[in-house]
Every structure is written in C-alpha cells, then in structure tokens.
C-alpha cells in the first residue's frame, strides 16, 4: 500500500449538486461512498483522483423502505451492509437478504461499505451481486441529470469491474420484490481465501408439489455472476428431489467456464459450483415448502 496522493473531497447535499460535481470534474472525480474499495484501489496505486465526491450526504441515500402494496423493498444504494443485515424491515420481509449481507467480508467492512459501492465496483467475488442476479424482479435505479432509469442485474453487470452505469450516473436504489407464497430462496458460498471462491443463489417456487419457477445464479467463478438458465430449465415441472437437484447442479456446473487462479483450478471450481447449487436448491425447496 502506498500513501494516498492528495485530493479534495466534495460533499454534495442534494442529488442536483452531485450531478453538477460529476459533470464538472468528469474523469478527475470518483464517487466516494464507504471508500472500502475506492481507497484500496487508490492505495494500491491503481488509480488516483484529484476529487472524491462523497455521496453519503445526499438525503435518503441510505434509506430502507417497504411498499406493502407493491410488495417491494427498496434499499438506498448508500445503505451499508451492516445496516441492511440488521434492519428490522429487511429481517422481516427479506430475511435471505439479511443472511447474505451478514456473510459479506468482516464486520468493519460491513459497517462502512455500502451495497451500492459493492455493486458499482463489480468485483467478481461479490455476494450480493450473485444473489440479485438470481432474484427475479430485482432492479437497480440509476440517476443522472438526464433522469432516472431502472436496470436489471443481468444488464447491469457487463464484465470484470465494468457495469452498464454511465459515467455520469449514480446508483440510487435497489428494488427487490418480496418472495411470493410457496417461494423459497437460498444462498451458498464457498470460501478459501478472503473473498468467496464460488457462490450460488437459488430460488424455487412450488405449485402442487412441483417446481413452477426456478432461478439460479452462479458467481465468483467468472468475471460476473451468471444465470444458470439451462439448469433452471431442467427443474421446471419436476418434483423437488435430490436427484433432480443433482441433475440441475451438474448442468449449472457444466455451463460455467471458470478460470484457473489463486482461488483454485477450473475443474475444482466446477465441482464447487455443482455442490453449492445442489445444496442451495435443496434449501430453497425446503424454504419454499415451509412458506405458506
């Protein structure tokens, strides 16, 4: 780590002001939320910026709210992992999200790091990114002086550290539909180093004892989390049993194309994806079965 090169911090207190700063400084400025990734990048000598735009002072930027009529939970992009993990609203409406958030990094990073920062940084080893990829109906809200747009996770994540967010856009919110009846979700991760080696999120819906909806996402083994569409297909209309899950897991693993790196070999990561998918499906089915 090297010492930080000098910069100034701008701290807009309205969205409008922040757009102005972004437009004025362009590439010379970085949006700064918790800074857990940004400062690390700067201290590693990978980037330097004369201006940091502290977006934490924007009102309601970290608000967590629930719209009962729409069945939507909305998380401000500036909400920290820790505040999401411990939010009574989240614990009540979307306990799976609280569970996943409690698995992120360590308590200090969770205290400071924001959900928006996690998603916008697009580190391939992200827990929430994989979760949201599998979560049907999730949208991210991006705002700029030009207006507001909603974007789905599979369009948002483009590549390693690359998203569809335009330079002048800010992520303001994450909208998550609560799970319907007979729906269950589960998240499994496998950790050998500091960040996840592989992770899988799965959602299953049951009707008359059969699977009528299935979403699986696999993360950390490639540049971005991906849906396991073929595996989802094998599940639809089937009975939720171990054999079917094993087949789906096999399909999910085969669909991945992991890289060999310090986290493990390609072959091994495929195995882990297989195991995690099977375990996630099993738990999702149990939870679906229990949710009336």
């Amino acid at each position: 780590m090297r010492t930080l090169t000098p910069f100034s911090i701008l701290a807009p207190t309205t969205l409008q002001d922040s757009f102005q700063h972004i437009e004025e400084h362009g590439w010379n400025a970085a949006l700064y939320a918790g800074g857990t990734e940004l400062l690390l990048t700067m201290r590693s000598g990978l980037a330097s910026f004369p201006y940091l735009i502290d977006i934490k002072k924007i009102p309601q930027f970290d608000e967590i709210s629930f719209n009962k009529d729409e069945g939507m939970l909305t998380i401000g992009a500036g909400a920290t992992h820790r505040s999401i993990e411990t939010s009574p609203l989240v614990l009540e409406q979307l306990p799976l999200l609280a569970e996943v958030e409690s698995m992120v990094a360590n308590i200090r990073v969770r205290t400071v790091g924001t959900i928006g920062g996690n998603l916008c940084f697009a580190d391939p080893h992200s827990d929430p990114a994989t979760l949201f990829m599998a979560w049907a109906g999730t949208t991210f809200e991006l705002v700029s002086s030009a207006g507001v747009r909603q974007i789905a996770p599979d369009e948002f994540f483009v590549d390693l550290f690359t998203t569809a967010r335009a330079e002048n856009e800010l992520m303001s919110k994450i909208h998550l539909p609560i799970l319907g009846k007979r729906m269950g979700g589960a998240y499994k991760k496998f950790v050998t180093l500091e960040r996840p080696t592989a992770n899988v999120a799965a959602f299953l819906g049951l009707a008359n004892g059969k699977i009528d909806s299935a979403r699986i996402a696999v993360g950390s083994v490639g540049p971005i989390p991906v849906r396991a569409i073929d595996a989802e297909g094998t599940l639809l209309g089937g009975f939720p049993d171990e054999k079917l899950f094993e087949r789906a897991a096999e399909t999910a693993a085969e669909a991945t194309d992991p890289v060999d790196d310090v986290y493990g070999s390609k072959e091994y990561k495929k195995q882990i994806v297989r195991v995690l998918t099977r375990r996630a499906l099993k738990q999702a089915a149990t939870r679906a079965d229990r949710s009336q």
Binding site: M1, R2, T3, L4, T5, F190, T192, L193, E194, R195, V262, G264, S265, Y268, Q271, I272, V275
Partner: protein, 768 residues
C-alpha cells in the same frame, strides 16, 4: 492481580498484560525520535537482473527527500552480512537476486514524499536467466545465484566448516548402519516424493527498525528483533564499530515466530541513517515482510523399510530446502531438518542427505519448529502406511518402534530425554483412540523430535533496588510467549516476592546482558536458567546479610512472604539493604550465567534438549468439497516442569492454530519468482471459524529437562505435529497426501485419485 507471589507451577497472570490491554505497551513502530525520517525501499521487479545503472537525480531533487541509498554508497563499509553465509549486501550491488530484493532506499520527511520519490528513481535493469524453483536451481548449467567460491561464512552459523558450492548453500548428511542391506531384506517398503510449501510466519506486526547515529561511531537501533545480540555483532561488523557502541533496544514484539530471528532491516536502516545523518525508520508492509522472511519450501524423497511384523528397519531420506536468494538461517534449517527426518524410532540404519538450495526467490529463514514441521508429516504418514500393510494400528506401531528414554538419537549428540511412548499414549487417550468413528470422521496423530535450545549461552543480572524492587535484566525478547511472566515467576519462586515487586524491562544491549537468542524454545530453559541462578545468588546475599544482622547461623534464615526471617525476627529486603549499607540506598546484584556444561555446546554435541512434537486431531471431511473441519485437537506438551500451565496452554493453542494453517491453508504462490499472493486477501491465515470445537491440552511433567526444576522449553512441537496428525487422519479415511497444504482442492483431487485407484483395482480383481 499481580500483587501476589507466584511460584513455579502457578497460573500467574501475565505481568505485561496491563500494558498490552490498555495499548500502553510500546512496540517498535510506536517509537518516534525527533527529526526522524521515513524510509521506503525500492525493490527489484525481476527475479534476477543485472543493475546497469540507477538514476536517482530526479528523486533526490524532490523537496523533502533527505537522501537515497544505493549499492554505490556502500564502498567504505563491508556491506555483506548473513549470520550463516555472508551473501547478502545491504542493498543490491550489481545484481538483484529476487523479485523484491532491495535496490535503493529513500529517506524523506514523510512516507508520502518517500513514496513519490520511489517513483522517480530510474533503474536500468538487464534481466538475467533465473532459477526460481529447486528444480531449476539444481539442473546442470543452472543460472548461478551467487559466485559461491567467493562467499565467506557468517559469524554464527555454528555448523563447523563448510563452503557453499554451485547453488547449494549448505548440505548435511547423516548415515548410520547399512541402509541398502536392510532395504534389500525388508518385507515392506513405503516410498514417496513429497512437497512442503513456502509459508509466511505472519506475525501480526511486520518488521520495523529505527536507526540513529550518535557521532559516527555510535549507533542506536530500536528494532523488533528476536536476537539483539547477534544483530549487534553483525551490524558492528558491517560498519566496523565496536560492538559495545551498537546499542539495540528491543521493545515488545507483535509476534515473531522466527520471522524476526537474526538480522533483518537493521543494516538498511543504519546505512540510510548514516547517509542522511538523521534518525531513520524503515517500516515493512506485510508484503515486504513476506519478502523478508519465510519458511523454506521443500522437496523430499523418503523411503521406509520394515519387516512383516511392523518392526521398522531403515529409512532413507533426501531433501532439498529452498533457501531463496540468501542463505539466511537456511544452513541451520537444513541441519535441523536432517535431524528430524528419521523420526524418533529405533532404526537399524538410516541415511539422510539434506541440501539447502539457493534460488531466485525471497530468502527463507526460521519459522517455529522448522525442520520438524517440514519432515514429521512425511515420516509419520509412512509409518502409518506400514502399519496398515502389516495390520498394526498407528498406536501399536509407535509402541513397538519408538525410542526409549536414554536411547541414542544421533551419534555424539544428546540422548533421548523424554518418555515418548507415554506421551503418545496420552495423545491417543485424548482422542479416544480405538473408539468407533463416525462416517467421514478421521483421527490421526504424529510424534517427532526437534533439536531445541540452540547454543546454551545466556546471562542475567537481578538488581535488588533499595526499596525492594527487583529488576530482572535479561535479553530474552518478549514476543507474546510470556517470557517476562515466566522470568518473573522464576524470581518469585526463589525470593517469594509478589510479581508487582518485579520488573522485566525491555531488552537493551547496553544494559541487559548477553543472551544468545530468543528462539528454538530456549528462553525459559536457558535465559530462565540464568535468571534462576541470579535469583539464587541474590538469595544467598540476602541470607548473608541476615546472618550478620541477627548473628544467626545461615540455616536459621529463611525467605518467605517477600521477607527475610530468622526465628521470629523478620526484615523486608529494603530493611536488609538499609542495614547492609548503613543508609537508605545501595543495591544488590544477583548474577546468573548459563554456559555449556561440557564441551562447547556445538551443534554436533547438542541439542540442549529434544523438544517432543506430538499431538492429534479428529477431523470431519466433506467429501463433496474436500474441506476439512477440525473437531478436536489434542496437544501433549512434554515440558519437564510447567512454570505456568496457562502460558503453556496458550503456546499449544497458538501453535496448533499455526500448524493448522501450515497443514491446510497457507502457501506463498510464486510464478517465475514473483510472489502472487503477498497480502492477507490472498494469503490465508487461520481465522476463528477454523478452530476445532474442542481443544484438549495435556501437560506432561517428568522433570527431565535441563532447565531449573527440570524444565524444558515448549511452543514449537505442536506446530510440527499438526500437519502430521491431519495427514494421518486423512490417511485413515483413505486419502493419501503428498503435498501440503492439504487445501480442499488438493484433498478433493487426492480423493478422486484414490477413488480411481479403487476402481482400477476393482477392475483388476473383477477381470481376474
């Protein structure tokens, strides 16, 4: 808590606990001198490169830069050091020998200026062919890391005469009996090739040194070093100073585990401070510390022969330890590994050929239980394999073959000074050995010996001050192991004073007397021995005073409750001193000197004692992922006498955690000599979640050690035992491991390999 006397065997609280728990304890990084500069080191990006030229002009011109040191500044001193082989220049001269080798040092008013200056230094490198693995270094016409003919030996290798040659920095051979003959008549032979990874000691506090010159003939250093007296001698030698004019202060260390053994940043800090004519601090980052010291990676070929009854006959071992670009403590590690290779069994013959190999990697040095950790898992897994073949369980194999008290281990060396069968039985009991195991539950243990104690030279003074306070002057370094507490207890035992009346200040080579080093589990035994003698000496003097004061015979005098007693008369130490000096002032000194009892305490006559390395584990294997969960650890600490059982248990638990790391997670990855995971995000250190649910610690006290009260050191053995225990537990589950760490991936692969073996075996059987 401290206002009580605690004798030997009692669970005294840590005397330095209050300082540490409040953040008041001073570590090297907490020392600030007026006018102190911050230094940063420019390091070679190449594993092997000629330095054609270095242009520091732009960096020097940066405001706030005090000076820049390069290899060109070392002309007026002897810039090569290395306690075993003087192969290391303060900064690279002409050639950089590993990626991370210091090439230049900037001293500036602040760390950020120094950082900027580093970017302005232009080095013209010519990349040279490199040898970054043991294999690459050992082939004919391999690139030569050093011009070995020119190498001089260092001041403290303690290994007799030797000369590095080719890329071999040291070799050690042991041969006893006719190995070939025994192998030819053996019923069972187990053989294999094994690999041990490069591991980082990972003390939480990275290396740091502050250097300050007074005039140009006196040097003062604050350094987190384990062996201040050895550093002093080397530094004095480099700069042609009188040793007495090099003063090293050793504050609290944030762990060491061997990484801070011998000379580290001190020559660099001293050289820059000399050029800058200002105090200078060099503080390593974690990455830099990983480039500063690590554990040797190793390749080993081992063969074990036994008869059909499981009686061990002979063992043959060849091993190559990668010492990196500089010998560092490599020669000693090679010798200790050779000692540990055969294991404590009644061999009829053994042959060990051990080599330390220079490569273009960062230097390797000491790390807790070196040698033993490298070898024990290999030897022990072979013994278990023989057992499986002849139908004897692991415990029976040990009972049948382990050496007994007094048996010869190495010709001319110290005979076995422990009851190994008793120890291993305790491990087995702790594991409920023989009880039925659940599915995917494996149990394993290992036992071995570690040549401990290093050279038996330690000294101490006890200063009894006029108010009765006892200051223990001893140069043992407090690294967290509890040295200051143990020393205080040894004093408290003899003089019966409360711990609050005893002080153990920081090591300071101008004040605290000579101690060879803090390592090799030697402190309580040897430095403790000196402190014990000093306390006895002081006791004698107090009794003498009382004899005169009360005109009693010395048998009538007793020391208890922190006072001197003669019948019903009593006096505090302060009163004794006042009577003695006729004045409220004056002090007494106790003196303690430990030196070799016979001979010169050389390596071949040693060790001071054999540390028993034993312990066991119960693991649960996840067959889907290869992940191992520790369920139980049993450690048996064979300590002779426990000065403080709580401290010993602390050593065992911490050592076991490191052993777990070495066994299943930790590995420095290199590609073409580049360290690929030089940080805590990618280098995995055990966390709380990795610990076993249950930890059973057994302390064996047979009073068979060479220290006072028959004590001997601890703290290393369990580390060596852990990989052996884990590999053997996996062996019980049918999984053969020949490369550490046994990461989930390696276990999973080994599992699939053995499954394939089963399949082919079944096919064979089916086809017949």
């Amino acid at each position: 808590m401290l206002d009580k006397a605690y004798g030997v065997g009692e669970r005294a609280p840590q005397v330095d606990g209050p300082a540490k728990i409040t953040g008041q304890a001073k570590f090297a990084g907490d020392i600030k001198l007026a006018g102190m500069l911050e230094a940063k080191v420019l390091r070679s990006p190449f594993a092997h490169a000629r330095i054609r030229s270095i242009d520091v002009s732009r960096a020097e011109a940066l405001p706030g830069v005090a000076c820049i040191l390069t290899g060109n500044d070392l002309g007026d001193i002897d810039p090569y050091y290395g306690h075993a082989v003087r192969d290391r220049p303060i900064v690279a001269i002409d050639r950089a020998k590993f990626a991370g080798d210091p090439v230049a040092i900037v001293a500036a008013e602040s760390a950020s200026i120094a950082d900027q200056a580093l970017e302005l230094i232009v080095v013209d490198y010519e990349e040279l062919p490199h040898a970054t693995t043991i294999e690459e270094a050992m082939v004919a016409n391999a690139p030569q890391i050093h011009d070995t003919e020119q190498l001089r030996l260092g001041l403290f290798h303690g290994l007799g005469d030797f000369q590095p040659h080719n890329n071999i920095c040291y070799e050690h051979h042991l041969e006893d009996g006719d190995v070939e003959k025994l192998f030819s008549k053996a019923d069972e032979i187990v053989e294999g090739e094994y690999r041990f990874p490069s591991v980082y000691q990972y003390s939480m506090e990275p290396h740091l040194t502050v250097a300050h010159w007074i005039a140009n003939d006196q040097l003062e250093l604050w350094s987190n070093c384990q062996h201040p007296y050895l550093v002093r001698a080397e530094v004095a030698d480099i700069f042609s100073l009188s040793k007495a004019n090099v003063r090293i202060h050793v504050p609290y260390l944030g762990g060491g585990f061997g990484s801070k053994s011998y000379t580290r940043l001190e020559p660099m800090a001293a050289a820059v401070a000399r050029k800058a004519a200002r105090p200078v601090r060099i503080a390593n980052s974690v990455t830099e510390s990983m480039w500063t010291s690590r554990r040797h990676n190793m390749i080993c070929k081992m063969q074990t022969a036994a008869d059909k009854d499981g009686m061990l006959l002979a063992r043959k071992v060849e091993l190559w330890l990668d010492t990196g670009a500089y010998a560092d403590n490599g020669p000693r590690v090679v010798a200790t590994a050779a000692d540990a290779a055969a294991g404590p069994y009644a061999w009829q013959a053994q042959k060990v050929d051990a080599f330390g190999v220079y490569t273009n990697r960062p230097p390797s040095g000491s790390y807790r239980a070196f040698g033993a950790t490298h070898l024990q898992w290999i030897g022990e897994s072979q013994i278990n394999e023989i057992g499986r073949r002849v139908g004897l369980d692991a415990l029976e194999m040990r009972k049948k073959n382990l050496l007994k008290f007094g048996d010869t281990i190495r010709k001319g060396g110290k005979p076995l000074d422990a009851d190994l069968i008793g120890d291993i039985q305790k491990v087995a009991d702790g594991l409920d050995w023989g009880e039925k195991r659940g599915e995917n539950i494996g149990r394993g243990f290992g036992i071995g010996l570690l040549a401990a104690g290093s050279r038996p030279v330690s000294t101490s003074f006890l200063r009894l001050e006029a108010d009765g306070t006892i200051t223990v002057l001893v140069s043992t370094t407090e690294l967290g192991q509890g040295a200051r507490t143990a020393m205080s207890q040894l004093v408290s035992e003899v003089l019966k004073v409360p711990l609050s009346q005893i002080r153990v200040p920081d090591g300071d080579t101008q004040i605290t007397p000579y101690d060879r080093s803090t390592g090799a589990s030697r402190s309580t035994t040897l430095a403790g021995g000196a402190v014990h003698l000093a306390a006895l000496d002081l006791r004698e003097q107090l009794i003498d005073i009382a004899v005169k004061m009360w005109k009693l015979s010395d048998e009538a005098i007793e020391i208890r409750e922190g006072q001197v007693w003669g019948g019903d008369k009593s006096a505090t130490f302060a009163e004794c001193l006042e009577w003695h000096f006729g004045f409220v002032g004056g002090e007494l000194f106790g003196r303690g000197i430990v030196r070799p009892e016979e001979g010169q305490g050389t390596y071949s006559a040693g060790p001071v004692f054999w540390e028993v390395c034993t312990g066991g584990v119960e693991i649960e294997l996840d067959r889907d992922t290869g992940e191992i969960k520790l369920r139980k650890v049993v450690s048996v600490a064979d300590v002779g006498t426990a000065v403080n059982p709580s401290l010993i248990k602390g050593q065992e638990m911490g050592g076991a955690a490191q052993g777990l790391g070495n066994a299943i997670f930790e590995e420095m990855h290199f590609e073409d000599g580049q360290l690929m995971n030089g940080n805590l995000a990618d280098y995995r250190v055990p966390k709380l979640f990795d610990m076993a649910e249950e930890f059973v610690s057994v302390i064996v006290q047979n009073e068979d050690g060479p220290g006072p009260y028959g004590l001997k050191g601890v703290g290393e053995g369990i580390l060596a035992a852990m990989p052996a225990a884990i590999v053997n537990a996996l062996g019980e589950l049918g999984i053969e491991i020949n490369e550490l760490p046994a990461t989930p991936e390696r276990v999973w692969k080994a599992m699939n390999d053995s499954r394939q073996d089963d399949n082919t075996l079944q096919k064979k059987i089916g086809g017949e």
